[in-house]
Structure formats: C-alpha cells, structure tokens
C-alpha cells in the first residue's frame, strides 16, 4: 500500500499541478510533495513494509537502498526550483511542474518494480515524462537536444523491450509459466534457455545502458544535460540514470542465476571501462561546463557499471556510489546552473572569473568538482575506493589500472575547465548578467546541503544505510 503511495502521491501532485490556477504558487507544490515523498520514503526505509511474494511492486532491499537518495535529491531540487521558476516567470510552469512531479512518481515506480514488464513501462514513462522538462527553455537548441534524447533514448527503450521479450521467451522456453517477476525468473535460474538469456542480456544491457548513458549509447546525454535547466540535469543524472542502473542490477541477478554471471560481469566491466574512457577523452577537451557535467555523468555511470561487475564488494561500492554520485552531481548541477545564469554563457571561452561574480556558487562548484573527482572526505572518494578495492579483491588489476587512468584524465579535464571558469578576471558581459541574477540564499542552500550530505555520507556513513546497501547486495548477489 505504501509502495503505491510513493508512486501515486507525486502523480496526484502532478495532476493537481496541471490543474492549479496560479503560476506564482504552483511551484510550491514541488517541495511540498517532495517533502512528503521524502518523509514517506525514509519512514519506509526505517520500517520496511513486508514484501508480498510474487508481487509486482515492492519496497525490496534494492529499492530501500537506492530510492531514498533519489527522493532526497528531488526534495532539494524542488526547493531550488522555487527561486529558479521565479526567475523564469516569463514562461508558464504548468507543464514543467507537473512533469517534474510525474517523473518523481514514475521513478518511484521504476525503483520498486519487481516485474520485468512493469520495470520497462516505468522506465519508458520516465523517459517520456522528462521530455517537457528538457525543452523548458524553448530554444531551438533545446528542441534539438530533446529530439536526440527522444530518438536515441527511444531506440534504447525499444531495445530493452525486445530484450525483455527475449528474457520472457527464455523463461517460456525453459518451461516457465510466464511469470515475469524477477523473483520467479531468478527462481527458474538454470532452467532459462541459455541462448535467449544471453540475447536478452545483450539487448537489455544496451537498452538500459542507453538510458543510463553508457558509452557508446551516451550521445544524447551532453545535449540533454547541456540544454536542460540545472535541476532537470540533476534529476536526470541522479534519478533517471539510477533507475536504469537498478534495472541492470536486477537483470544481472537473473542472468547470474541462470549461470551466466561471469559473462554478464565481463560485459558490464567492458562497457563500464569503455564509458569511463570515452568520458575521460571527452572531458579532456570539452570547453562547455554544462556538457562537462554530462560527460562526468557518463564517467560515473561507467564507475557504477564497473562496480556492478566486481562481485558483491563491488556492487556494494556501486550502490554507495549511486548515493554519493547523486548528491554530489546534484550540487554540481545546481551550482553550475547558478554560474551559468550569472555568466550568461557556458564555455570557458566566454566565462571566467566567476569566483568574483558568484563567489558562493563558484566555491560550491569547485568543491563539488573536487568531490566528484574522488577527493576525500566526500562520498565519491569512499565509493570509488571501494570499487578499486573490489577490483583487487577479484584480481582485476588491469581493470583497476584502467579505471584509475580514466579517473586521472577525467580529473585533468574537469580541473582544467572548472578552474578556467572560476579563476581569472570576470568578463564584462558576465558582470552585467551577474547583477541581474544575484546569488540568494535560496539558490545557494540546496546545492550546499547536497554537498554537505555528500560529505556526511563520506565521513559518517550511517550504519543503517550501510546495512541497507548490504541487504540489497545480498538480494542481488547471493553468496554461492
């Protein structure tokens, strides 16, 4: 019941938002619904409801381990959305608010989906619900980005649907009764038809990998993140990609149960490292700091994928990384949004000296950049270190070396760009726009809190959280 509440509360909010008459007060629905959602999530986190056997939806250990991060991220983005939409009051926010709430509801559904088909439906719906968010700016560039997002994402979605069918057929071929819940599929395990399972894995990985933004299916990401408002970027990078990742984790568990875990892990490792490599190469040269965040996101998706490939310790680190990446990336997107607005431009050729114009956002941006490049004591440091340790534990020394090499190049690219924007003498144009968009508490606090939570996650990871992650890992990586 509460599971459904998590989904329908935001959807209801979306409906209300669509009907709400006042442009001025509508944005307040976001933090209100967000706060309720967060409260409910954390209440459920503390008192997880019992799982119904064979249920299609459920607040299972994996949902419990990941959903609170998404909910928190949404809450802070929602808080940020009020001043943001106030600034952008020239445009109607009806669709924006409704779609944002819709995304939250569908994300909750996707995280809780314990059924292959339902999972697909939720993910697809999230993809579509995000479309109005992407072109909120209404510029030709935004439409171009949306178009690419739709078609590349749609292709990925189509592939994952095909993969889902294949997995279903594998179950059918193996004598299954057509029950496509993950529990049933896992139970069927070795009974699944192997060729179909492998085909399904390839298609599902490519499909959900597109959604996650793993290279080479990541091409929509820089466009979408670059053109969308900061909050949307934060939610896409921290929430939507997370759903796709949990989907891959769930499917991997089925494949592993069917006896093809090593193959699945190898592909995950390969695609993860490849994503990191591609991201690192792009980061080395990119001059646009919003697209930089997108490539950084590709890199972190790679990290998640590598972590998932490295057994239970790696998966633990990966789930840890979901949290630390969501929160830290959120801080980066929001502070980056502040900088973007104040600067009036977003490439290092046009922007410099933002430490003078927006000192607080610049400080958060730099700190967030350091955090996201695994600088202790922020969350990503611990989770990435966990991945490396897992690599050594599973004797993947070469993978660890490549992992670290990509981190290094990504660091070069990120620091180069971020310092170029923050340091130096501010441009005249930026001084002008900077006056129009002064930093207020309401736009600084949300990213600051996100950053603070990333720090808190690093230095004092709550024991309950660790236990929740461990439980999720036990669910997905049963000890042999």
């Amino acid at each position: 019941m509460k599971e459904l509440a998590l989904i329908f509360l935001p959807l209801l909010g979306a409906a209300v938002a669509a009907a709400w008459p006042s442009e001025k007060t509508r944005p307040w629905l976001l933090p209100i619904v967000g706060a309720l959602h967060t409260a409910l999530t954390f209440w459920m986190f503390v008192n997880p409801p019992p799982l119904v056997d064979g249920g299609w939806l459920g607040f299972d250990p994996l949902a419990r381990a990941v959903l609170p991060a998404v909910s928190l991220l949404f809450l802070l983005c929602a808080a940020y959305a009020i001043p943001y939409l106030h600034v952008r009051s020239a445009r109607s926010n009806r669709v924006f608010v409704a779609a944002l709430l819709g995304v939250l509801g569908l994300l909750s559904a996707g995280h809780q989906a314990r059924h292959l088909g339902l999972l697909w439906i939720a993910t697809e719906a999230v993809t579509l619900a995000a479309v109005p968010l992407l072109h909120f700016n209404g510029t030709p560039r935004a439409f171009e980005a949306t178009w690419k997002y739709l078609l590349v994402g749609g292709t990925g979605i189509a592939l994952s649907l095909l993969g889902s069918f294949c997995l279903g057929y594998a179950s059918l071929h193996g004598g299954g009764g057509g029950d496509l819940t993950f529990a049933a599929l896992t139970l069927q395990g070795g009974g699944l038809s192997r060729p179909w399972v492998l085909t399904a894995w390839v298609l599902l990985l490519a499909g959900y990998g597109t959604k996650m933004g793993l290279a080479p299916m990541h091409t929509w990401k820089p466009d979408a993140y670059g053109e969308a408002p900061g909050i949307v970027g934060a939610l896409l990078a921290g929430g939507v990609t997370t759903v796709a990742f949990t989907a891959i984790l769930r499917i991997r568990a089925v494949i592993a149960a069917a006896g093809d875990g090593p193959i699945a892990d190898r592909t995950l490792l390969a695609i993860g490292l490849f994503s990191m490599l591609v991201a690192a190469l792009f980061l080395l040269g990119t001059r646009d700091f919003k697209r930089m965040l997108a490539y950084s996101s590709v890199e972190h998706m790679g990290i998640l994928s590598v972590g998932a490939a490295l057994g239970s310790a790696g998966a633990f680190a990966a789930i840890f990384h979901v949290w630390s990446n969501s929160l830290t990336k959120g801080a980066l997107f929001l502070s980056g949004g502040n900088i973007r607005r104040a600067a009036g431009a977003r490439t290092m050729d046009e922007v410099s000296g933002m430490a003078v114009i927006t000192p607080h956002s610049a400080a958060i941006f730099v700190t967030g950049m350091l955090a996201v490049t695994a600088c202790p004591p922020f969350g990503p440091f611990f989770s990435e270190l966990g991945v490396i340790r897992a690599a050594f534990e599973t004797h993947h020394g070469g993978a660890a070396a490549m992992f670290l090499g990509c981190l290094l190049f990504a660091f070069f690219g990120l620091t180069r760009l971020v310092f170029a924007i923050v340091d130096g003498r501010p441009r005249a144009a930026s001084r002008e726009t900077g006056r129009r968009f002064p930093e207020s508490m309401s736009v600084i606090l949300p990213p600051l809190i996100l950053l603070g939570m990333s720090l808190w996650l690093g230095v004092a990871t709550p024991v309950t959280l660790r236990e929740a992650w461990a439980a999720a890992v036990t669910q997905l990586y049963p000890a042999p």
């Binding site: 030709p140 171009e144 949306t146 690419k148 057929y169 059918l172 009764g177 057509g178 040269g285």
Partner: protein, 201 residues
C-alpha cells in the same frame, strides 16, 4: 517482410508512411490470427493497434508532412539500393539468427521471429539512413512494429495488462515524438535533421 523492403525502397514520404500504416494494420490483426479463442482484451488490443498504428499515427505523420510543407523526397543518406541490399541482407541474417535461437515447438514453423528481427533491422536502417525527421519516425515505428511482432510470441503467457501498458507507452511515445517534430518544424523551419547539428562535442 516485403513491407519492410518497400519502406526501404520508398523514395517518397507518402509511400513510406503508407507502408508503415499497412504494416501497422497487419500487426494489429495478427493476435486475432494467433489466438485460438477470442478474449475481449485481445480484441481490444487488436482494435487499438489497428486503429493507432494503421490510422491515427499515419494520419498524424501525413498532417505533419503537409503542414511542414516539405518536399516529399526522402533524401536518403544511405542510398536506396544500398539500403535495400542492407534490408535484404538483414532479413537473411534475421532468418539465420532466428534459426540459431531455440524456439518452442509451436513457434518453430512460424515466421514471427525472423519477421520481427527483420523489421527491427529495417527500422535501424531507416533511422540511420534517412535524414528527414518524418522518415526517421517511420523507421522508429517499423522498429517498434518488429518488437511488437516479437511480443506476440509471448501473448499466451504475459498478462495482457502488460501488453496494454506497453502499447500505451509506445503510443504516447509516438505522440510525443510527433509534438516535438512539430516544434522542431516551427523552430527550425525545416524537418531536415541534418540541420540539427548545433550541439556537438
């Protein structure tokens, strides 16, 4: 499957849309042929499919085409002959691939799997090889048709609720695509996706 090749060979948008529409109708009728007993849900799905895929979406596309006032040439970036060959090769490959995968006895004879795979491949060829936004949408539709065709394999076992959900999603997806196509047309005054290359690197 012939329709796929027709779609590949179409040099004009209306005929491409037509091919898609016919394929949609055929697809919609399929469950009725496969199912032995007519359940009302199956019927509903079939009707919805035929309606949407066969009529609504093609109509939408035609209207978009008309309002966009674009010339009706398809302007391939992969030529017609190569794409035909690719499509034919894809079909052969699909047949071969389908043979490599084990099928349940009741499906062994049917052309469902190779047909589905061939459609998927055709969809990809269209998506990759055509530059007009509308022809890409057609490609996407053919891709989804292929997947839908494949889904028919599971029609016995998967609950129709899921099928319905999937169908709904697809439909909404296509609607959204249509809306964006419209917006792009207004923003760029063109539906040539080759102009959509501002965002790079």
């Amino acid at each position: 499957m012939g329709l796929n090749l027709l779609a590949l060979a179409s040099s004009r948008l209306p005929s491409l849309i037509g091919a898609v529409s016919v394929q949609g109708i055929a697809l919609g009728v399929m469950p009725l042929l496969i199912e032995h007993e007519l359940r009302w849900l199956v019927l509903l799905v079939a009707v919805a499919t035929v309606g949407l895929k066969g009529f609504v979406i093609p109509t939408l596309l035609r209207r978009a085409m008309r309002t966009a006032n674009i010339d009706r040439e398809v302007e391939p970036s992969i030529g017609f002959v190569p794409s035909l060959l690719l499509g034919a090769g894809g079909t052969i490959a699909a047949v071969a691939l389908a043979r490599a995968l084990p099928l349940l006895p009741e499906h062994t004879g049917s052309l469902l799997v190779p047909g589905a795979l061939a459609s998927v491949l055709t969809g990809f060829v269209l998506l990759i090889g055509r530059s007009k936004a509308i022809s890409q949408v057609c490609g996407y539709l053919i891709l989804e048709n292929g997947i839908y065709l494949f889904g028919l394999l599971l029609i016995h076992s998967t609950p129709l609720l899921v099928e319905a959900g999937i169908l709904l999603d697809l439909t909404v997806g296509v609607f959204v695509i249509g809306i964006i196509v419209d917006r792009i047309q207004r923003a760029f005054d063109s539906l040539d996706t080759r102009k959509l290359t501002v965002l790079r690197e």
